[in-house]
């Protein structure tokens, strides 16, 4: 059992936006992959990274994120699958003791978190978020300090939900504890204090609600009311999916606690993060974007400008771009080339076109490595 059942092979950076000391670092470890199966882990990691990159708002924050893969080879393949939960009885020897059926629940797939932390502390202590991919096609996973999930269809959603908890401090937005049809008691009405988490509240008052700046004056507050607190509110969304308000039913209670949008990944898997969760992710990752404005100019309607930036000593650039100073304004821009000289100096060209009918002020922005 445990660390005797395999070995740590090493760490590889698979998304590189700069030094770990400057970026937000996600670390993904393998569990239940034999050494000969590590190539499969590499492609499973790449698949998760593609999913994450396609998930707003990580797509727009990608320049602030690094991803590292820690290859850990296990003696055997898969995860323990006890017959007590109706499993196959498989009992493989794996490095992190991955097992289904924790707490007697088949889908509760967990690993030995202490062992995972020991490996991360030794291999990649700059980790902000840790995930473990378990080499099993059976659906399962869990959260806590480390997000664990299998290879089954949709299981990577577990990683995205858990990242909401662990990395961004989100509460659960679902309006039950065990489930809407569970007959649960003690979850009828929240009467507690205001939760410190940013995405649930006991306060549906328009004047004091903590996300009131995103609530339109046309949106009723509360936005939905559960008429029968003995169960989950069966009504559909009376607003558009994007409408921010105070929807009754959240934080494990049918009534008395509110969520910001009708749906969110923190309420049910396979939904986007709501606007409040997305805002917190943006705020949390802002320090890792490390972009700078180099200059500002105005371009008239229908004009094209070509600029160059020069450095005596080229600092290394992730990107150079153009950002209109006025929200909603649009410009076309391109970086047609750069020239790096033997003495270390460099030139970088930018072409900016304004296809609109009014002049637009814009900033050059960049991100040094």
């Amino acid at each position: 059992m445990g660390a005797g059942d395999g070995q740590v092979i090493g760490t590889t950076q698979i998304v590189d936006h700069g030094p770990a000391s400057r970026k937000w670092n996600l670390v993904i470890l393998s569990e239940g992959y034999r050494q000969a199966e590590l190539a499969k882990f590499h492609s499973d990691c790449a698949s998760f990274v593609s999913t994450m990159f396609a998930t707003p708002p990580y797509d727009e924050l990608w320049c602030g994120i690094n991803v590292y893969r820690i290859d850990v080879a296990s003696t055997d393949s898969g995860a323990k699958d006890p017959t007590a939960c109706g499993g196959t009885g498989a009992n493989p020897k794996t490095y992190f003791d991955g097992s289904f059926c924790n707490g007697g629940i088949q889908r509760a797939l967990e690993v030995n978190n202490l062992a995972v932390h020991m490996v991360v502390n030794a291999q990649m202590p700059q980790a902000h978020m840790i995930m473990v991919i378990v080499n099993s096609n059976e659906y399962g996973g869990t959260g806590g300090d480390i997000a664990t999930f299998s290879l089954a269809t949709g299981a990577s959603e577990i990683g995205l939900h858990e990242m909401g908890h662990t990395a961004f401090g989100f509460a659960d937005e679902y309006e039950y504890y065990a489930g809407c049809g569970s007959g649960e008691t003690g979850h009828d009405k929240y009467t507690g204090a205001e939760p410190a988490q940013p995405n649930v509240t006991a306060d549906s008052n328009r004047a004091t609600n903590k996300w009131r700046d995103l609530v339109s004056s046309a949106t009723p507050m509360p936005t939905t009311i559960n008429k029968d607190c003995s169960k989950c509110d069966p009504q559909g969304n009376p607003s558009s999916a994007e409408t921010v308000g105070a929807y009754e039913g959240a934080y494990y209670n049918h009534c008395g606690a509110y969520r910001p949008q009708f749906n969110c990944r923190m309420r049910a898997l396979n939904n986007p993060y709501c606007a409040i969760c997305q805002r917190v992710i943006r705020q949390t990752l802002a320090p890792y974007m490390a972009s700078w404005t180099w200059g500002t100019n105005t371009i008239g309607a229908g004009q094209t400008q070509r600029w160059w930036l020069s450095w005596g000593a080229y600092p290394g650039l992730e990107w150079v771009g153009v950002q209109p100073a006025t929200p909603g304004a649009e410009l076309d821009w391109d970086t047609p080339g750069m020239q790096q000289n033997a003495d270390g100096s460099a030139l970088y060209w930018i072409t900016v076109r304004n296809n609109g009918s009014t002049a637009v002020q814009f900033h050059f922005r960049g991100n040094a490595l």
Partner: protein
């Protein structure tokens, strides 16, 4: 209209401490402390959350003045979150854990004035959610791990 850019400023890295804790019930031990070079998110409001529920940690100086605070999802798990891809089950739900036990990490800024880390939570059992958080553990981060608990 060529322009010569100013060389970009270099953003200094921040030092951090990676603190590893182990817990059994509400008994928490600081088991390791590592210095790392990484940027941490900025502090959240240092005051104004006295009557709130949830989990947060606070870093304070020798005079007890707070210098850094972050609210987190409670890393001490008195219940586990389970998931399903079967449409007959909720995609996510919770079940109580019989014997809460585990490991968690807190990342705190490695600033000279920091002396103490305090952990705040509502009563840790699921029924305690909703009650105002209070301090339940405190560690001297300038001392060696596993000796730091004062309470």
């Amino acid at each position: 209209m060529p322009q010569v850019a100013q060389p970009p400023q270099v953003r200094p890295y921040n030092g951090a401490l990676r603190l590893t804790f182990q817990y059994e019930g509400s008994n928490v031990k600081l088991v390791s402390k590592q210095k790392v070079e990484m940027i941490l998110p900025p502090t959240q409001a240092l005051t104004g959350n006295e009557n709130q529920t949830g989990f947060w940690f606070m870093l304070s100086n020798a005079q007890g003045t707070p210098v850094y605070r972050r609210a987190l999802h409670n890393p001490i798990a008195y219940d586990r979150e389970i998931f399903s891809n079967n449409p007959e089950h909720p995609s996510v739900q919770r079940v109580p854990v019989a014997q809460p036990k585990g490991t968690f990490i807190l990342l705190v800024p490695d600033v000279q004035e920091a002396k103490t880390i305090q952990l705040f939570s509502h009563p840790l059992n699921p029924a305690g959610r909703g009650l105002a958080a209070s301090e339940f553990a405190r560690f001297d981060i300038t001392s060696e791990p596993d000796k730091g608990e004062k309470k």
